[in-house]
């Protein structure tokens, strides 16, 4: 008898040991057993990989590809070409140092593109004003969930020509959350720190900044479209890295999740910046209301001065940006005919 299907040898030791130990059929035999040489039954046993990682991944990928294809038809743009068109700065081994992953981003862009074009029917004005090279995109923040950031990013990817890769700074504590901490870097989001911002701007990237921060996004409905205080950091950053600032007015965000109150004690308990009370949730409407978004991109500001200047000197420049955005918001509100149209 030969170990015919395997190594083709006479009296192969693996064959003998197989029969001695568990007498299993030759069909199960693999040539590697002879090297493994274990006399312990099932020592070389491995979980059958019928539903192994690669199969799951392949299945997920085919579903994702289908989503991308549907999105491409709806949006009317080639999403892969858009992602291929952006300029990134891969390191020596071809990875983005901040963790951007084009594979994950194409699915995200497909989903976001559907929201951008179909759900919120975003109108984009003046996107051609974004200059080449490094740029800080400064916008008003609204709407309880940062959908405004998603839509600005979509506008940069889908409406700007050539597409610009939007980076945005996220809160530090998101890095402590499982899954979010993996997802955000893969989409190109970066933990908010001055060092990271400086590094990205020196790489000639575009950075989306919301100087209002958490205060702005969790505004109650009575304060809609009234800008809260801006931080000074973004102007100092712009002065230091000699970066133009593009003001952006976002219209339509405030009405997506109208909040009637901020339940502060619960927010404190949950360590959240705010706990908005949103009536639509009581009616079971978890999704945001399909308001019509309008994004107005203004003329870029180019400031010059000392980045370590006194607060009062920097505040003037911040005030200039803030008042520009506020007037752009006011004009946009006057021009629109309705919240949903």
């Amino acid at each position: 008898m030969t170990c015919q299907p395997l190594c083709g040898k006479w009296a192969c030791p693996c064959l003998v040991s197989r029969f001695l130990i568990d007498g299993s059929s030759l069909l199960l035999h693999d040539g590697g057993m002879s090297q493994r040489g274990s006399i312990v039954p099932f020592a070389g046993w491995r979980r059958p990989r019928l539903l192994g990682d690669s199969h799951w991944r392949a299945a997920l990928r085919s579903v994702g590809d289908r989503v991308v294809r549907i999105a491409e038809e709806v949006v009317g743009q080639d999403i892969d070409a858009r992602i291929a068109g952006i300029r990134t700065h891969p390191n020596e081994v071809g990875h983005d140092p901040f963790g951007f992953d084009p594979e994950t981003s194409r699915y995200a862009l497909a989903m976001a593109g559907l929201l951008h074009r179909r759900y919120f029917r975003t109108q984009v004005f003046g996107i051609e004003r974004i200059p080449e090279g490094r740029v800080l995109i400064v916008a008003n923040h609204s709407g309880q969930l940062p959908i405004d950031a998603v839509l600005i990013a979509c506008a940069l990817m889908l409406d700007a020509n050539p597409p610009r890769f939007p980076r945005s700074m996220v809160e530090t504590w998101t890095a402590e959350l499982p899954f979010i901490s993996t997802l955000y870097p893969r989409l190109g989001q970066v933990v908010g720190s001055p060092e990271n911002a400086r590094r990205l701007l020196r790489q000639e990237e575009s950075l989306i900044v919301f100087p209002e921060g958490a205060k702005g996004i969790s505004k109650t409905f009575d304060q809609r479209y009234q800008l809260t205080d801006f931080g000074l950091g973004f102007v100092r950053l712009a002065l230091e890295t000699n970066t133009p600032i593009v003001p952006v007015a976002v219209i339509g965000g405030e009405e997506q999740y109208p909040s009637i109150a901020d339940f502060k004690p619960l927010a404190k308990l949950l360590r959240m910046p705010a706990f908005p009370v949103m009536p639509q949730l009581f009616f079971g409407m978890i999704a945001p209301l399909p308001t019509k978004y309008r994004l107005y991109f203004g003329e870029p500001f180019r400031f010059a001065g000392d980045p370590d200047d006194e607060d009062s000197a920097v505040e003037e420049k911040v005030w200039l940006v803030k008042s520009t955005i506020q007037s752009m918001v006011n004009r946009g509100l006057r021009e629109r005919k309705g919240v949903f149209i």
Partner: protein
């Protein structure tokens, strides 16, 4: 035995100038020479320099021209080594990282012995000190910038008490800068050193089923051990001083790194991983303290611009090469 240790240490100025002149011919003292990195360094150094090794362990397979002293650094005999010959530089690689050793032993070895070493260096006016610290003195934290520069605070011990002595060692070396400005002190802080060495990062990447934390996949940097020894050689050039981060060729997500190394990640939720690792640690089935799991959650990557500009350092060995060398028995040359 070798003379009275309490001999007056002040040297006449003429003699010190002679020593400086002879510095080029002086020997390089390497502590911890019997570790895998120490041996590798010794083999690279002994071609161009006279190498003197100090370690508690015997040096098996020692090249003939390397003098090895099998002594404990805390002993008086250490001083005789300095007194007996002209030492031009000290490379301190003999840092105890083993988390199984008691806090007391680690403190006594990493701090007390290092203090002694610095004392002798000051006394015998050794013109160069190279200390191998590590990027983990910065500590993996959620609010770390993506790339830490040399000025970043050393917060490694904030969540992991076992790092305290390594941070202190780094601080001691830093204070040596201004205490003895005539000595060119160099502190190297490489990211995870990977290769034949038996440190936590290499041991982790050698596992068949390394644990990863569910929902976390931080970017990682690794550097080949030979790149580190080359950086040490560059740091030994006269005139070089300062703190330098050392980084490998590029960074990639941990999951990619694990798969490249041939492991299949075992993904566990963070509390479960912590609990399991604590139990395994107690039963001596694992040598990873559970606090080190933070490395699998948060970034702790370094910016090596200063090393590139001032040290002239450039990583040569690729990540693939480093991962291949993980399972290598020896280097054939």
């Amino acid at each position: 035995m070798f003379g009275d240790a309490s001999q007056p240490s002040a040297k006449p100025s003429r003699e010190s100038s002679v020593r400086l002149k002879a510095a080029a011919e002086g020997a390089v003292l390497v502590t911890g020479i019997c570790g895998r990195l120490g041996k590798l360094l010794a083999r690279e150094l002994h071609r161009s320099d006279t190498v003197v090794g100090v370690d508690r362990r015997p040096f098996i397979g020692r090249p003939k021209d390397i003098t090895h002293h099998e002594v404990d650094m805390r002993r008086k005999k250490m001083k005789d080594i300095f007194r007996g010959r002209n030492i031009r530089a000290v490379v301190h690689v003999g840092v105890l990282h083993n988390p199984r050793r008691s806090d007391r032993e680690r403190h006594s070895w990493n701090i007390v012995a290092f203090q002694k070493l610095l004392e002798y260096m000051a006394q015998y006016e050794v013109p160069k000190l190279v200390v191998l610290s590590g990027a983990n003195v910065y500590g993996p934290q959620a609010n770390n910038p993506q790339f830490l520069t040399e000025d970043a605070p050393l917060l490694g011990a904030q969540h992991f008490g076992g790092m305290r002595d390594l941070v202190e060692l780094d601080m001691l070396a830093q204070s040596f800068f201004w205490k003895h400005p005539t000595t060119d002190t160099v502190i190297l802080r490489p990211c995870h050193i990977v290769g034949r060495v038996r440190n936590a990062a290499s041991n982790y990447l050698r596992l068949d089923r390394p644990v990863m934390i569910m929902g976390f996949d931080p970017m990682m940097q690794i550097v080949h051990e030979k790149d580190v020894t080359r950086a040490i050689q560059l740091a030994l050039r006269p005139g070089v001083r300062g703190i330098f981060n050392i980084r490998g060729p590029g960074e990639m997500p941990l999951s990619h790194l694990v798969r490249k190394a041939g492991g299949r990640p075992r993904v566990l939720p963070s509390p479960l991983a912590r609990l399991a690792l604590d139990q395994l640690w107690r039963l001596r089935l694992s040598n990873f303290p559970s606090q080190e799991l933070d490395h699998l959650r948060y970034v702790c990557m370094v910016d090596d611009t200063r090393a590139r500009e001032e040290l002239g350092y450039e990583p040569i060995h690729s990540i693939d090469r480093a991962l291949r060398d993980l399972r290598r028995v020896r280097y054939l040359r």
